[in-house]
Amino acid sequence: MSGTFLFDGQPVPFTDGQTILQAARAAGHYIAHLCWHPDFPPHGSCKLCIVKVAGRHVSSCAMPAKEGMEVESNTPEINGERRALLQMLFVEGNHFCPSCEKSGNCQLQALAYDLEMLTPRFNHFFPDRPVDASHPEVLLDFNRCIFCELCVRASRDVDGKNVFALTGRGIHKHLVVNAESGRLADTDFSAADLAANICPVGVILKKRVGFAQPIGARKYDAQPIHVVAMQEDK
């Protein structure tokens, strides 16, 4: 089965089983996302990929494409909602870009640039989230966690190690390490694991790397994430 739907007025072909995000992306249309990854089933938690279908908001990463549906994505209204979601993520954690090694290569920051976020707008939570520097190769800075669960999924489904999990609900939700001590050093985690290389923000950082790339040479310095992502797909 296959068909066509309209994405921001443009016809987009799809095959049965494809989601809106997958089909749109295959046709060259970028939809903002943080928790979605092509190698994993949709998670649907970050809500950055919201689109409007028949006047209703849906997560495009989880919504199957259907014949004839009319999808709105790149509109001032939806981009404004995406910006508000980013602003919430920024104030719920501690995102100090000037002192973050991931700056310039961070998807959260890159999306905020792309959507012209100039201010966090809301009051900051400034949560207290101590870092875990126990592992010899990798540092965990929980201050930047956006709960996308990519590390959880990569460690469980690909690495076969189950190193990470999310626990708690609502504002008390946080990333934990599956060890009796709660320390990364007490797991079999390795810097070569997929989970060590999949974090879209600056939570899982390799030690002794630091600010390796100068400003100007980093992933999102020259081009916005919607251009970089589509170039990577080619």
């Binding site: 870009c97 000037p98 973050c100 100039l118 201010t119 900051h124 400034f126 081009q223």
Partner: protein
Amino acid sequence: MDAAGSDARRPRLRIATTSLAGCFGCHMSLLDIDEHLFELAQLVDFDRSPLTDVKHCGPCDIGLIEGGVCNAENVHVLREFRRHCKILVAVGACAVNGGLPAQRNHFDLGVCLQQVYQCREGLAAPQIPDDPELPLLLDKVRPIHEVVRVDYFVPGCPPSGEALWKFLTDLLAGRTPRLPYHLLHYD
């Protein structure tokens, strides 16, 4: 007509600038607009600013605030700027989201003061300063929009001279300021 769209008939605008809990890097960026400073001097008069050493802000069109809010004096200055400036602008990471100074927010303020003034080795007479002229510290450093209403935000640590010039020329010409992708950054 120049980059800011001015002409001789346009009234000169008054600009005030200050640094709260900041490093003056954003003011350095303002100096980094280089020869545009002459152009700016044709368009505006400076009120309170480190450039003039005027101590209090009078009625102004634009107030540029660098730095976060970390003590009682910062709150006082910020409110004075809000009262006197038609347009208030948060300039740089500290004013926009607390920046580097806000990284002390994880720590207990009393412990911080003890560590610095009482516990360090080699202190001749360890004591926490308590001169009444010293402004009281807030327990958390806050971005300025959490204390007063802010009209515009220019992120960056610091924003580049080019970004500040683009912002100011837009504003002075009556356009809605907008930073193109290469000038919008948080670091």
